[in-house]
Symmetry: C2
Subunit: 229 residues, 2 copies
């Protein structure tokens, strides 16, 4: 969207069809909070946020478009991503009719923290959304994505993409508590997760806490349906 200045797209607004863009809502859990990765912008000396996005390149696959976008705008690799929705209201951008295909992505924070260039990219807390200024309808899009993320947690193993390979059950529970924004009973949570056979033991122990904890990993690497809640 903001990349429209590139030469090859300079005549784009004169076309008889709308402009097609790709935007991504990237979620991660950072310091016990649900966060979103945005691009920094300035407009009239005032900080603005935008979702990472660009004008879609023709003849490139989704995978290439998204992975290039993420790599070049945020230095992030190894993410889970899934289509969220296409936003195409006429009035979303006052200048042109921009149709945005929006994806949401999940990253395990440790996978990108050391790569990110924080002069270009911001990590913002989801709870600060209302305090920040977003361009276009991006705030609405983020709220929509959060809703989808909640649903996905409730009936799939999508949490796998917000954790490392091995994790304590209590860490898995934290992911649920942070995103669903509610306290969950420890015993009932474990019973549920084990009964679903969503995770399996690794026989390794995490000794970083006081009493060492068993480490688990997900049975499936791929997204799979589980009736969690």
């Amino acid at each position: 969207m903001s990349l429209i200045k590139k030469d090859k797209f300079s005549n784009i607004r004169d076309l008889s069809i709308p402009v097609l863009a790709l935007d991504v809502v990237i979620f991660t859990i950072f310091k016990w909070e649900l966060c979103i990765i945005t691009q920094k912008k300035e407009k009239e000396n005032w900080p603005k946020h935008v979702l990472p996005g660009w004008i879609m390149a023709k003849w490139f696959s989704i995978r290439e478009n998204i992975e290039n976008l993420l790599k070049r705008k945020t230095w992030i690799q190894w993410v889970f991503y899934e289509q969220l929705k296409t936003f195409w209201e006429v009035e979303r951008d006052p200048r042109w009719h921009v149709v945005s295909i929006v994806y949401y992505a999940l990253v395990w924070t440790d996978n990108f923290l050391h790569n990110v260039d924080f002069t270009q990219v911001d990590i913002i807390k989801f709870d600060d959304l209302d305090k920040l200024d977003f361009m276009y309808d991006h705030k609405k899009i983020i709220e929509y994505a959060k809703q989808r993320l909640k649903w996905k947690l409730e009936y799939t193993n999508v949490a796998k993409d917000m954790l490392g390979e091995e994790f304590r059950i209590s860490q898995l529970q934290e992911v649920y508590e942070i995103i669903l924004w509610e306290k969950i009973d420890k015993r009932n949570f474990q019973k549920k997760i084990f009964k679903l056979k969503m995770v399996k033991e690794t026989w390794n122990l995490d000794k970083s806490t006081n009493r060492p904890a068993k480490l688990y990993k997900f049975v499936d690497k791929e997204l799979k349906i589980y009736e969690v809640l």
Copy 2:
């Protein structure tokens, strides 16, 4: 997609961006079967089916685009519709890179049967899908839409759009049985629906069956979440 012959789009394939199309999967229940409305095509003297669709017009809202599309291609009005997914694999159309924003729609058969021009439009049974020839990836899209429809039935009141204003509980149950493709226990179904307060009595009776049946209507006109199954 097939409308590309129109003059105003004649140069569209030379653009640096993909072509943007709108397609709709229209479901209806016709003669106790789940059906889909397609456009008739012929290719090399062989009947082909296509989803109703066209190249998206710039500066028109979703509502205008969809409602005009439906009206002009299928003579259908008064439908429920919701965005399904955007399909944008490079190889979906061998000629151009076409990005299709696909919606699914539900119609109560009585609302359109007398309007339709069957020389242009076909009503096909979902169960015949594998026997028929579709252009592009439209068969895959229909299967995806069917899956979404099932989920929606299971956790919303979306069935309202496949029935008239007032209906017998057994008719509602039929909608569920046809789409979910399973037999449901009459007593358990009624208990569930009533407990959810999804429908309310109208105090009218349907005397067209042997023993007159109570008629109900939906409490909400709008789509609302209900944990039906």
